[in-house]
């Protein structure tokens, strides 16, 4: 069978030879126009005068649009209708698009965009969490609060209590392919859009809205993206809408792509968070009561901030049974880029909060943090009712495998011996200190907005036996298309090569959800399976009829179809079915069972299941400078019965490295004027291949999902990102070797921040 095998990515040869086509590689029709935005230079205020004369008369410029020239507000928001395509007079962040240049080339458009003369009346900008709190500048009326039990009382009556705070920065997606879109006008005002989006249906919806067309008149196609990471879930809307609006006005094809600096300045990033905590615990470090306050900067528009902040709350427990807990979440509106989806979608921030608490408590009780972590774990998986514990939001934790998984990883990576070795090293070396940490991940799988948990597929079998598969998921390098093709091949008993992979297309499969929430394979794999099974059953029914045998006697395997013991190639079966006037095309549909969620009450079962894993990282720091390095990382990750171990391990490796980058080198810096100062690779450091740990052992916990997912696999896109937390905790552990105080290390843990924390720890 084609599933469970480590097939390489279907486009791997194209990726490495440069032959894979991205939006920017699509050959353009004659007379294509190109767009560039002119960006606001202040963070907050009014435009008192906008002189675009020089822009209009610049070489190659065809026209220049301000907000008032658009056919309506051309809203770009995925949620709250609060993102006009162009600012109008009211500027809400530095980098906000103010006007749109239409020119005969990309370069002409960009050059002209710089020629505008803009007079501003600046107002005070709200840039920080503290400023937003002081001004009560927020989304929703007040903080969201979810609680279980009596956290305050439990803390008060606990033998010990402590308080703390962790600040964690945002993160630029840094997809290698920047945002891009092309609009091709069609007969009668219809529009075709190529977009580098994780969410073609959303682009279709927003373009239709901007053009005052029904969705049926707009078709969006996405073959692949060069990375998305959540940054292309909603942020591509502005480009697609701009192209479509100009294509409508001019009747010409229109293309837009962001230069990297513009991409940084315009688009949203991961939400930065401040998390305050008060915890009551016993002598063993068992948590008895816990209060969290989450504060996050959402930026100028709502975008996906509410579900992101919700997911942070939903992961405030990570792997731990917290009988009494209160979580208060503040979603703050600031004059900065509108923070958006990013791998983990708030989950990593919430999880880092509780991991910090566990680490702090372990330090206070003087125990190995791993011991304190496992002591607080949920009860092992069991169907015996009294043993089933629930999350703070009321979902039973029925599949908890972390006891065994942690024990196995700890054994594989010699945790206990290395803990001793690290202590010995630290005792012997005054300047260079080592640190070790083993941290778990429990990540909820499903969209928390329940209705998004559906998917469609369209499968054709042609009379020569070839198969074309289409579904609503998008390919961004993660390998979704290959996994889904493996499913289709398995259903027809065909070799993988027989399955044709095709671009995502809203005209083939409608009403799709974003390829997000790690759910691409879960949802689309199931939908394709349903479509394939329908066709297979039709062929089987027809052949059984002809051979006068039972349908069960028709078998599909190894490229052959056997009917009551007689075998023929699949192509022959397809030809016969076609000639017998059997429909060889089918849609497929899937909706995730069992999920139900009330986000206001904070109660229900938002997730079908949890994906698990654990990571152990060892680091070394130079206590004179804060310089640091990861020496070794071991990861054991739960991908259920993996559909494709090669792709899954790739996701685990990449996720870990990206997570470690978030918490160490990737630092976003805004100045006091609200200008993002890190907007290029010369100032913003993502990990390179050479920054991965020199010893890096990744393996899969290969056991079937308890839930009935596609071949019992588990989603793997986001969960491994959070293995990066082990690096921050290991750095903190290394600092702890230098003094008595708890090292309250913030992220990203740059060398300077490590040194500052070292000084705090040393100068007790």
């Amino acid at each position: 069978m084609s599933v469970s095998k480590p097939h390489p990515h279907d486009s791997a040869p194209l990726h490495v030879t440069g032959a894979a086509r991205y939006i920017d590689d699509i050959p353009l029709p004659a007379n294509t126009l190109h767009l560039a935005f002119g960006l606001a230079e202040i963070a907050h205020g009014r435009i008192s005068a906008l002189d675009l004369g020089a822009v209009r008369s610049a070489p190659g410029v065809v026209m220049v649009l301000e907000a008032k020239d658009l056919p309506g507000d051309c809203d770009c928001s995925p949620s709250n209708h609060d993102e006009p395509l162009l600012s109008g007079a009211h500027v809400q962040y530095l980098g906000q698009p103010v006007f749109l240049v239409v020119a005969t080339s990309h370069l002409a458009a960009r050059k002209a965009a710089r020629l505008a003369k803009v007079d501003y009346q600046p107002r005070d900008a709200i840039l920080t969490i503290e400023e937003a709190l002081a001004a009560d500048s927020r989304f929703e009326d007040g903080p969201r609060i979810w609680e279980r039990g009596e956290a305050g009382e439990a803390i008060d009556t606990a033998p010990h209590r402590l308080e703390g705070r962790i600040e964690m920065g945002g993160q630029e997606h840094f997809y290698l392919e920047g945002h891009a879109a092309i609009a091709l006008p069609q007969d009668g005002g219809d529009m075709v859009v190529h977009s580098s989006t994780q969410h073609p249906t959303e682009v279709q919806h927003k373009v239709a809205h901007a053009l005052h067309l029904p969705m049926s008149a707009v078709r969006v196609e996405t073959r692949r993206m060069g990375g998305g990471f959540g940054g292309k879930e909603s942020q591509g809307n502005a480009l697609a809408i701009s192209c479509a609006v100009v294509a409508r006005m001019t009747g010409k094809p229109v293309k837009m792509r962001y230069d990297r600096d513009d991409d940084f300045m315009i688009t949203g990033k991961r939400h930065d968070f401040r998390i305050d905590y008060t915890v009551g615990y016993d002598d063993d470090g068992r948590i008895l009561g816990l209060e969290f306050q989450h504060f996050t900067r959402c930026g100028w528009a709502q975008d996906l901030s509410l579900p992101v902040a919700d997911r942070a709350m939903l992961h405030a427990d990570n792997a731990y049974w917290l009988p009494h807990i209160r979580i208060e979440s503040h979603r703050l509106r600031t004059n900065t880029q509108s923070a958006t989806a990013y791998r983990g979608f708030g989950g990593p921030q919430g999880m880092l909060g509780i991991e910090r608490v566990l680490d702090h408590v372990a330090h206070a009780v003087g125990r190995d943090p791993l011991q304190v972590r496992t002591a607080n774990y949920y009860a092992p998986a069991s169907d015996a009712a009294p043993a089933v514990q629930t999350t703070p939001y009321g979902q039973p934790v029925q599949d908890f495998i972390l006891h065994d998984l942690t024990a196995k990883l700890a054994a594989q990576c010699n945790y206990a011996e290395r803990r001793k070795a690290v202590a010995e090293w630290n005792a012997a070396n005054p300047l260079i200190k080592r640190g070790l940490a083993l941290t778990p991940v429990k990540f909820g799988i499903s969209f928390t907005l329940t209705h998004l948990n559906q998917a469609g597929a369209l499968v054709h079998v042609y009379q020569d036996g070839s198969v074309r598969v289409n579904h609503g998921g998008t390919e961004m390098g993660q390998g979704l298309f290959q996994k889904v093709a493996q499913v289709a091949a398995a259903r027809f008993g065909l070799p993988l090569e027989a399955i044709q992979i095709t671009a995502t297309d809203t005209a083939k499969v409608p009403n799709t959800s974003a390829t997000a929430a790690s759910s691409g394979s879960d949802l689309n794999g199931m939908a394709v399976k349903a479509a394939c099974d329908t066709i297979r059953d039709r062929i089987a029914g027809f052949l059984a009829d002809q051979a006068q045998c039972a349908i069960a006697e028709v078998q599909f395997a190894d490229g052959m179809v056997s009917v009551a013991g007689q075998s023929m190639p699949f192509a022959e079966a397809a030809k016969r079915a076609y000639e017998g006037r059997v429909s060889l095309s089918s849609t497929g549909f899937y909706k995730t069972p069992h999920v139900a969620w009330d986000r206001i009450a904070g109660q229900g079962r938002p997730f079908l299941y949890f994906a698990y894993g654990a990571a152990c990282s060892e680091v070394v720091i130079d206590t004179l400078t804060g310089e640091n390095r990861i020496l070794r990382t071991d990861i054991l990750h739960d991908a259920g019965a993996s559909l494709n171990p090669a792709l899954d391990i790739g996701q685990v490796e990449g996720g870990f490295v990206q997570g470690a980058g978030w918490l160490t080198t990737e630092e976003l810096v805004w100045d006091r004027a609200g200008r993002l100062r890190t907007h290029a690779p010369s100032t913003y450091k993502i990990p390179a291949c050479s920054d991965r740990p020199p010893v890096f052992n990744v393996s899969l916990w290969d056991a079937p999902n308890r839930e009935d997912t596609i071949y019992r696999s588990k989603a793997v896109g986001e969960p491994p990102f959070m293995h990066g937390i082990s690096v921050l905790m290991a750095l903190s552990d290394a600092i702890a070797a230098c003094g008595g105080l708890y090292p309250a290390l913030n992220a990203p843990a740059t060398p300077e921040r490590i040194l500052t924390t070292l000084d705090q720890v040393r100068h007790v």
Partner: protein, 261 residues
């Protein structure tokens, strides 16, 4: 970038003549100048490319002096300055391979970026900057960030480094650009020790004279115990505070002494 003319002289004399035009500017490896033009921070009407001038290329060693032609790339110095290993190592640690294959010592020293590596080697070695017109001692040459003793249209044809007994350069990289957040060059000569610091000060590269005095008596990291530089006047920017930079100066100087052996 604005439009400009370009000339490609093949001798220093031709280049000097071409640079007589008021709006002309020398172009060497272009690793600094081209980005500057792209950002429209400069708008010369004419660029005079120095890359076709053979007489300013190459590394030679002679009687305790290593001479590097002004048009020699960082990569060529890394490969060719074996007579002065600390200098070769410094050149080999600049930027990335693309930068090292294009960028030149003349461009770096003329530009005098406060975070550049070469100024530390030139000042730390007490080198001599040779131009088409004269020879300038390092101590007179550097005059604050992006400022040098060069006159309008003057071309660096070579830099002459007296080879020390021992030397080392230690750079603390800003991880994204790999420029020096702080870099320290230490060189021990028969008549004393020189310590030059780059990346740290708002005044550009400078000599840390207290460290030089301490090391001249006792060339060991321990001789620096208790010495520190003030954070006043240190660069504070998105990559680090002045206090952190001042702290790094002391740490890196010790490392450089240790590395020099």
């Amino acid at each position: 970038m604005y439009a400009f003319d370009i000339e490609r002289p093949t001798t220093v004399a031709e280049a000097v003549a071409a640079l007589k035009d008021e709006d002309a500017q020398a172009l060497s490896g272009g690793q600094t100048l081209i980005p500057t033009l792209k950002q429209r921070l400069a708008s010369p009407s004419k660029l005079v490319s120095l890359s076709g001038i053979a007489e300013t290329k190459g590394v030679s060693a002679d009687g305790g002096t290593v001479t590097v032609g002004g048009g020699t790339t960082h990569a060529a110095v890394a490969a060719g300055a074996s007579a002065y290993p600390a200098l070769a190592a410094l050149a080999g640690g600049i930027g990335d391979p693309a930068v090292r294959n294009r960028g030149t010592i003349g461009g770096s020293v003329a530009n005098n970026d406060p975070a550049a590596c070469y100024p530390a080697a030139v000042l730390g070695s007490g080198a001599t900057v040779v131009t088409n017109a004269r020879e300038i001692a390092a101590d007179d040459y550097f005059q604050g960030m992006f400022t040098t003793a060069l006159d309008e249209g003057e071309i660096i044809t070579a830099v002459k480094f007296p080879v020390p007994e021992k030397a080392a350069y230690i750079k603390f990289e800003q991880p994204a650009s790999r420029f020096a957040l702080v870099g320290v060059f230490v060189a021990k000569y028969a008549d004393g020790v020189r310590v030059a610091v780059t990346g740290a000060s708002e005044e550009g590269v400078f000599r840390w004279t207290e460290a030089e005095a301490a090391l001249s008596g006792n060339f060991s990291a321990g001789a620096l115990d208790g010495l520190s530089v003030s954070a006043d006047g240190m660069i504070s920017d998105l990559h680090g505070t002045g206090a952190y930079r001042a702290h790094l100066v002391a740490v890196l100087t010790k490392r450089a002494v240790a590395a020099a052996g």
